[in-house]
């Protein structure tokens, strides 16, 4: 390795009841692209927060260019050239895009007053550089989609002449195209001697971008390897201690009903999607995939009543249903796991258990109207176990969980209502590879029990592995329906989707 830029040595950190990090080392060279890999709750974000001066390590040292950080001030680490994109993005929802992007620059230069012209100029340049110049500088960040928020957080880190940029799952919500673009930026930075520490659960990304990989498991460093010496299976094995294999999902045609569980006929909505028709049988896992702006998220939001369609009809078990808001949808047994759930749907300070059962509290009412707390606890603990939520105690507040484990709580919450049709928009965003399998298995079990599942994913491989039928969307239309997923390959699907996107089909 070339010259060392950052060195973390013997880092240990405990939270109440959990040893999050235990004697972990991490070394990043100047201009190196390094990946940090580990399962949910293994301590990645904690290590990053310690580097960033957000948490103080119980023991160990962080040295940047030979100088040791005092480890308790964010600004110290920023001034030493480290920029971090945190897993929760750490944006200011109440402020504009321009200010959110420029805030680091404003703070680092230690100026006392604000030059708004400069603020806008910095932001404009940053967005241009990342190829997203169309985002309005004056929009408030709270009004942006998850993907755009990530773009803003990335742009912000790029405004500084950083020497190391740390990305804690900064690519979980953005599309393949945007990731590709980001990677070319990272490669360019590398040429200028700027290092990147990259965290992602999408192993394909890890292999594509990194030179070296540090793997941690349960707060301990397992090892550091040159990427060229690893392959997918070996990495998964080192990371999880298990071998994981995917089998395609086979639909049992005996479950087919005369009238489908859900049928959508000629749904259209201006500027979003056109003439969408499809049906779903009990036991089916229907995959919908396509690039961003393909309309996939919008259509499922319409089905769930969040974004009512302009025209079209919908049937459940052969009977027409009208759904104009999520309450109607839930009453008809439709549930939606939304795409943007990093900040959504959790009561931060409340316990993990309460968060899971909050939607089904009425199931625990005793005759006299009191809650049966024993039953409630048992149900919560069941879900904690079933989804392998990593916590010493279900009574701890939900914000003590790692990012991926918080996601599982949201998943558990929706599963607990036991819907007939379950729509999952990106079911495994931010979930580690080992747990992905667990979650996929749960989804399959639910389908086998007769639930109808719609799964939306960016990852074509995920759709291919788990769905028996697949819809490909582009620019608001269904461009192809694949009746048996076993008859195709991910390369073929990827080609169809990107081909259609570049051929100017009008929506």
């Amino acid at each position: 390795m070339s010259e060392v830029f950052l060195e973390a040595k013997h880092i240990s950190k405990s939270f109440v009841g959990v040893k999050a990090l235990d004697d972990v080392d991490l070394t990043i060279g100047r201009g190196e692209i390094h990946c940090l890999i580990g399962e949910n709750g293994s301590g990645k974000s904690t290590l990053i927060k310690i580097i960033g001066g957000v948490h103080k390590a119980d023991s160990g040292t962080i040295t940047v260019e030979g100088k040791q950080l005092s480890g308790s001030q964010a600004i110290e680490s920023i001034r030493s050239g480290v920029q971090i994109i945190y897993q929760d993005l750490s944006l200011f929802p109440n402020l504009t895009v321009a200010e959110n992007i420029s805030v680091n620059q404003m703070l680092e230069s230690n100026q006392q007053t604000v030059q708004w012209k400069e603020v806008r100029e910095t932001a404009r340049k940053a967005l241009e550089e990342i190829g997203e110049a169309h985002i309005s500088l004056d929009e408030r960040v709270e009004n942006l989609s998850m993907a755009k928020k990530q773009i803003i957080a990335i742009s912000r880190a790029l405004t500084q002449n950083a020497k190391l940029i740390i990305m804690d799952e900064a690519t979980s919500a953005i599309t393949k195209e945007e990731v590709d673009h980001l990677f070319s930026i990272i490669q360019n930075l590398k040429k200028k001697g700027i290092a990147t520490l990259f965290v992602s659960h999408k192993l394909s990304e890890v292999f594509e971008i990194s030179e070296n990989i540090t793997i941690i498991r349960d707060g301990k460093k397992v090892g550091v390897y040159p990427t060229s010496e690893l392959d997918h299976d070996r990495l998964v094995y080192i990371m999880t201690g298990r071998k994981l294999e995917a089998e395609p999902y086979v639909y049992d045609t005996k479950m087919k009903q005369k009238s489908p569980l859900l049928e959508v006929k000629s749904f259209s909505k201006e500027l979003q999607y056109q003439d969408i028709s499809f049906s779903l049988q009990p036991g089916e896992i229907l995959g919908i995939t396509g690039l961003i702006g393909s309309g996939r998220t919008e259509i499922v939001q319409s089905i769930f009543g969040l974004n009512p369609a302009d025209s079209g009809t919908m049937y459940m078990n052969g009977e027409e249903v009208k759904i104009s808001n999520p309450r109607d949808a839930i009453r008809h047994g439709i549930a939606l796991l939304p795409e943007d759930r990093l900040n959504q749907g959790l009561f931060d300070a409340q316990s993990i258990g309460d968060n899971i059962v909050i939607t089904i509290l009425k199931n625990f009412l005793k005759k006299i109207g009191l809650l049966d707390t024993t039953k409630q606890k048992r149900s919560a603990n069941d879900w904690i176990e079933r989804l392998k939520i990593k916590t010493p105690d279900g009574n701890l507040p939900v914000n003590s969980l790692s990012g991926g484990n918080q996601q599982r709580v949201v998943l558990a919450k929706w599963l607990a209502i036991n819907p007939k049709v379950f729509i999952l928009d990106g079911p495994t965003i931010g979930i580690d590879i080992g747990s992905k399998h667990t979650i996929h298995d749960i989804i399959r079990d639910l389908a086998r029990e007769g639930m109808g599942i719609i799964m939306i994913s960016d990852e074509i491989q995920e759709v291919l592995d788990n769905c028996n039928r697949i819809l490909l969307m582009s620019k608001g239309r269904i461009i192809k329906e694949i009746d048996d997923a076993r008859t195709t390959t991910s390369e073929e699907l990827y080609e169809i989707v990107t081909g259609a996107a570049s051929a100017g089909v009008e929506a």
């Binding site: 960033g52 600004i75 750490s90 200011f92 006392q112 989609s145 919008e298 939001q301 969040l306 974004n307």
Partner: protein, 336 residues
Amino acid sequence: MNIKQLMKHNETYILLIILIFSAALTMINPVFLTLENMFDLLRSSSGTAILAIGVFLVLLSGGIDVSCTAIAIAGQYISVNVLIATGIDSIALAFLISILIGVSLGAINAVFISIFKLPTLITTLGTSSLYHGLLLEVVGTKAVNAGDLPESIKAFGKIEILTLTRADGSSYGLSIFFLILVILLLLTWFILKFTMVGRGVYAIGGNAEAAKRTGYNSHKIQFFIYCYAGFLAGVMGVMHISMIRYGNPNYLVGTELSVIAAVVLGGARISGGTGTLTGTMLGVILITILEKNLILMGLSSYWQQFFIGVVIILGVSITYAQNKFQARRNLSIGGA
């Protein structure tokens, strides 16, 4: 700005309510819409408006401050007593002492909130009672009559920056209080918009953890907020006594709810991060009109209290509903 954009702003609605209310009042009593009455309204609401600026800042940062009136009365009562005791009849000294007291008491609030990380409501509830209790115990409970009041203070309250003559030769005018308010408003606006400390207030109100991570100095910002609110309360304290020309250490305390109501009504979110000075001022105007005219309309001051409560609840619900509505709209265009 077109109508559609205007309708997105909270301020537009309050302005409409004020206009409708004023129109109704003018119909009942044509005197309402005279310049003289307007000047009077400005004079009597300047104090509340200045306290509201401080409360607005605190709310913006995600906190709440119920101690502003206790600080104002402490500044007022102590400074006036010092003037009387020393025999130095100087309005400047009165302001200086009152402001020093305000800033110090604000700093004490900041110590609890920023360093000991206590919740802002609990802290200011506690210190408010503490400051007021100490004031009554240590400085005394004796009221200051107009006769004992230093001349400079009485004179200050009568200064007019614009004097107009009535038909009968007598005159009325725009009080200096209005000028002070305008200067403080401009100062606050400048701080909030053009200084890093001001942006930090928005930042910690929007996402306190992120503010820390991006390198804002939260301690410094919180000290600034509470000291500045204390400074405003100090200014208001002296203004108040020079207006009513009577000092009673039990005045003001208890009116903080009206101030908070005005700010909330002005569209500042209770959860922090959003709101405007314009909205805050409109909120103050509305509350003042309400308070004054409810009494004129023959309602007791108990009813007045009741209405303040209604206004707070309504104000909070409306902002809440608006946010929810907006969140839903955003969800539906989430993919865009």
